[in-house]
Assembly symmetry: C2
């Protein structure tokens, strides 16, 4: 009986060609325009309306990569890409991902592929040690805590929120068994910074709980401080609400600001609130001793998350999350149908990661961490972080040297928030022209009511010369604008 | 400035070696024991406690694949793997995934990489046409509906539930603006079959809504029928509850049963309830005209989902979901911070997929669909489905020919539910010995109170001879057991 498709011999040939295509693409990526010149709907007209009945030739498929796909790609790994935050891309991670695809196991339980679960637990311990996380977050062989790979920080925020919701409901019902779950939930209130990522507010929507934003200010470096937080808690408790969850941000998306968790952690402890820390971008930097103080206060957290898939060279998706008490997170989700039961599941050494996450299925993602950590080594990873921070500082120096510009927030890691002095209008024009020119790519943010440009060092291959080119380019466009709009 | 790691030249060499390793692994997979012989905690002692300071040699990393990883892998792509449901693995999908990793864009909005969004929309249209989905589910250039790739069916179920929750709250508040959201939510009730996947119940937990299970029976082929459903709705409405969501299953996990959606759909319409269809496994079969009648009634659904990553040769993750009204799903989630805004977003042609899903980030997964659909062609994919169904029928015939055994549920597609006549004890022993022997791998289910074995045709390379060997093996173990436990 035959099915078409491709056999192993053909894959050996095509796979090697693809390896070369990938190496070529990444070696010459800076010759491509970083931002695509296409209009919405461009792709549909380039390909048929339906799948073919009979197989297409492989050569035609490959030809279509350059004809159909590449013209519409925003090249996140171009050294001229400075938008959003970085997303990781490294050769060791790609090799591991190829292997992961071939093994193709679905690791929802220990038994579904023990290596998939066990390597993940150990890799999260390795990474936790690199960050010098408190022991309570490590699994080891006897720990109550441990780590898990989530798809994204959004999911980690949501999982932590759901665990917190479940914990508070159980706690209140233990004291007052007559209180109904939905009644309790209707009084809960969660908090985050007004600088927190939109996914935090979204987690509140999904979980059906109130989510309040704690105001920050430019004078306080866009960080949440204890005083403001305490005042809000007092007011909310007086109004009959039940504070139960605080999502602290270390390295906010707009400006890479750091909530003051050494002040906020003790407050959460005193109030029996769950403190989750979202360090999606900044977390990778904590592997360097000089940046580790930014994580001080993590000892007060119930859960902590950051994305190696952003800045630690592990390709998407790989969002690392640790909890102090596995039982808290598992308790929020546990379902055990017979088709997922297995002999070992009551053993203390066994982790069934399906209880730790929103989806059921999961890929063998820890292979990517294993390859990256071993093939870079801790020192290589630290050097990588330091290089990006240095490039950001270099850009910051250029901006500060130019009297027409101002820096809008402290530059702590790889992000520089800056603007032309004067109106938002001028800065909107600046950004529009930068992106229309397609030489570099940036996105804006709003800081203290002003329209601000974000310059995030993103690509693995960004070097000083790219930053210099980017600055010259921005500076030239600024000159043009100032001739047209002098104020 | 240098960081270590691996350069493009080294990747060319190592990538090609990895391609050969993958081809070797898959070509010889049946020589490996399908289920690993390891104890919980086996892996930790095989590797260091910490990441290395300096990079390891690549040769050492590769050597460790066989030393550390493979001994603990459950080989889902072995032709002796008959557990759970299939997970897809094909060479075209792996090639596309390599490309996706290299491009490494994060497609949360159209602008973040237009090709990533647009190819996805068109591929979901292609696939929708293969299934002969009603036009209302297709995006086209002017449609109100369309498709999206979710990570897993669990996420699709949850997204649909959240959209339904948001729609009913808005509807009720439109009539009675004074009613509070949490008060409305506390009266909502959602439904699914008692055979539905555990993730449906879990979605209810996450969303904080009541989820009721509709009883099924062996006499009704484990399907939900209209009569039972109507009776439950009547009762719940009389008790002051608000029915708002029904998750129908086409192809349940225990026995591949099909809810009677031609009866249930009109009821949902009449009650203004959201009908979501979860066809995670079975959906792939609907590309064959002879199986398409199983999908009749989909015209009543608001959303429909199945997993090409199960049975349609597109490697995990790729769960295809369609909605009739994009606005319903987007309305449940929309958040628009400045750093994610872009010029085109108000255009009708632009889709920002972040509003359709739980996570923010997303990989370029539609490349896998594109490669698979083109390199197999529709006929190749149909042949693949038919081959698996034929293999299941072959196994069913063997079971039926053996008087010691019985078939526990209709064999419709690639799953055979069977057991030895007599006690659960005997069947538990049978399964335990099968899995302990490690020649084949199965998991059980519970059907009408009995312990049942599931034989799911899973691997791409399963042939008739593997099924025959599997049956001989099961039959021999049964003989042993019957000598020991004759009743």
């Amino acid at each position: 009986m035959t099915t078409c498709g491709m056999d192993a011999a053909e894959f050996r040939k095509r796979g090697k060609e693809m390896v070369d295509y990938i190496a070529d693409y990444l070696e010459t990526i800076e010759q491509r325009e970083v931002y695509p010149d296409v209009q919405p709907g461009y792709l549909r007209s380039l390909i048929p309306n339906e799948a073919p009945e009979e197989p297409d030739a492989y050569e035609d498929v490959v030809r279509d990569i350059e004809r159909v796909i590449m013209p519409g790609v925003t090249h996140w790994h171009s050294p001229y890409f400075y938008a959003y935050f970085p997303t990781a891309n490294s050769y060791p991670a790609m090799l591991a991902d190829m292997l992961s695809g071939a093994i193709g196991c679905i690791g929802f339980s220990w038994a579904a592929s023990p290596a998939c679960t066990e390597l993940e637990t150990v890799m999260l311990d390795w990474l936790g040690k690199m960050l010098n996380l408190p022991d309570a977050f490590l699994a080891g062989t006897t720990g109550l805590g441990g780590g898990v790979i989530q798809g994204t920080a959004s999911e980690a925020t949501l999982v932590a929120l759901l665990a917190a919701r479940s914990r508070i409901v159980q706690k209140i019902q233990a004291d007052s068994p007559e209180r109904e779950e939905l009644d309790i939930i209707s009084r809960l209130v969660a908090y985050s910074s007004d600088q927190a990522h939109s996914s935090v507010e979204r987690a509140g929507l999904i979980a059906g709980v109130r989510m309040k934003k704690i105001p920050t200010a430019v004078s306080k470096k866009f960080a949440v401080h204890g005083e403001t937080f305490s005042a809000m808690l007092k007011e909310d408790k007086e109004a009959g609400l039940i504070p139960f969850y605080f999502c602290a941000t270390l390295g906010t998306t707009p400006s890479c600001a750091f909530d003051c968790i050494t002040e906020l952690g003790p407050i959460c402890k005193a109030e029996n609130m769950w403190m989750h820390i979202d360090a999606a971008y900044a977390g990778s930097a904590f592997i360097c001793p000089e940046f580790r103080p930014l994580l001080n206060g993590v000892e007060f957290a119930d859960s902590f998350n950051f994305n190696p898939h952003k800045w630690l060279l592990v390709n998407f998706d790989c969002s690392a999350m640790w909890v102090k008490k596995r039982a808290d997170i598992i308790g929020a989700f546990k379902m055990d149908p017979l088709y997922l039961k297995h002999d070992h599941q009551e053993s203390g050494l066994v982790t069934d990661y399906r209880h730790w996450q929103i989806p059921l299925g999961r890929r063998f993602r820890s292979l990517k961490m294993w390859f990256v950590f071993r093939l870079y080594g801790l020192k290589g990873l630290q050097a990588y972080i330091r290089k990006h921070v240095e490039l950001a500082k270099e850009f910051e120096r250029r901006v500060r040297e130019d009297q027409r510009f101002e820096i809008s927030a402290d530059v702590v890691l790889g992000l520089v928030c800056f603007r032309m002095k004067g109106s938002d209008e001028k800065n909107k024009t600046l950004l529009k022209r930068i992106n229309a020119a397609r030489k570099i790519h940036l996105v804006p943010c709003q800081l203290a009511g002003s329209f601000v440009l974000r310059f995030a060092v993103c690509a693995r291959t960004t070097e000083s010369r790219h930053v210099q080119e980017a600055w010259s380019h921005i500076s030239e466009i600024a000159s043009e604008i100032l001739q047209e709009l002098p104020n």
